[in-house]
Chain length 191, copies 2
């Protein structure tokens, strides 16, 4: 492994990237420094050359996970035409999303953890959450729809979280299905 400054910057990015996925998979308390560093083929001691503390890493990784979530949502829209309530619902409330929390929306994976975390983490998620609300409102494309956008975002986050709880696959699907149908009906009314 290299020791150049460029290598260091690259390693920091790799640590952050793996941390952002582990965070969503294991929760705010679930990521361990030594496991994380093993996952990027480094030893645990090196960690503190990149981050001041575990808290510092978690904050940075949380921010990254939330930023990535926004980016991928916007990109998935531009890839196949304009984003609509339908396209948002279909991707957010999909089995693919439910079954892959580590690459999914950090709100669904971590909002419960962040709700009881320190102020810094709550602040970070709050900042992104406001933007997620705005994004949904834009998708709806109605100036008076802020409350609707908030309500639907809450519903999607709740649905994905609860669908991940349900042990019976059919009942888990049922939750996603119900929320999706609900949103699609609402989308029809809006058009």
């Amino acid at each position: 492994m290299g020791h150049s400054q460029a290598d260091k910057a690259r390693n920091r990015e790799r640590i952050l990237e793996v941390a952002a996925t582990q965070l969503r998979e294991l929760g705010l308390d679930g990521v361990s420094i030594s496991d994380l560093m093993k996952a990027v083929d480094l030893t645990h001691g090196g960690f503190y050359g990149h981050f001041a503390s575990r808290d510092d890493l978690v904050a940075a990784a949380l921010d990254k996970a939330l930023t990535d979530g926004e980016a991928s949502a916007i990109k998935s829209g531009s890839a196949k035409g304009k984003r609509t309530l339908k396209s948002v619902a279909n991707s957010y409330l999909s089995k693919l999303h439910r079954d892959n929390p580590d690459s999914g929306c950090a709100l669904s994976a971590l909002s419960g953890d962040v709700a009881r975390s320190n102020n810094q983490n709550r602040e970070i998620m709050s900042k992104h959450l406001a933007r997620y609300f705005d994004n949904i409102q834009e998708v709806i494309g109605d100036n008076d729809s802020k409350e609707l956008a908030i309500s639907l975002m809450c519903m999607m986050v709740g649905a994905v979280t609860l669908s991940r709880v349900m042990t019976d696959p059919n009942r888990s699907d049922e939750i996603l299905q119900a929320a999706r149908k609900f949103m699609l009906q609402l989308g029809d009314e809006k058009q």
Copy 2:
């Protein structure tokens, strides 16, 4: 402190009760045996006379928290007339509920944790979750409203969780307010 069999049964209940509140306040990983036992004025060693392991306690406390939640929802309804979508929304989406997770709904406090927990805990919450859905459906009082009931439950859970994340009190209130308004409008349509 007593040593009789009746005392033991009483102590077990006290441990379970405190555990059920600490669980909602601190999360599945946040409850420590020695802190818990201190909170009921016992020493940590005695714990294993009541429960086989920490996992065993967490499962029992999770079940209790979820059971209490159902009971209090039903009781609050019968106290002041019939439960309606409006009365459910007003109590679930209240600041009081948001600000007191330890005595609130375990779905809002713990679904994110349980989603990545072991099968036993997921099973326990799944069982209650199905009943929560049924309860909301009963409140709506429409045989075809299962999907609606599920969607609204998801929205309430998401709204309370996200309102607990938001650091700005106004924006936090805004989330509760939006979801409440949404549900009340829907309640009007149903009548």
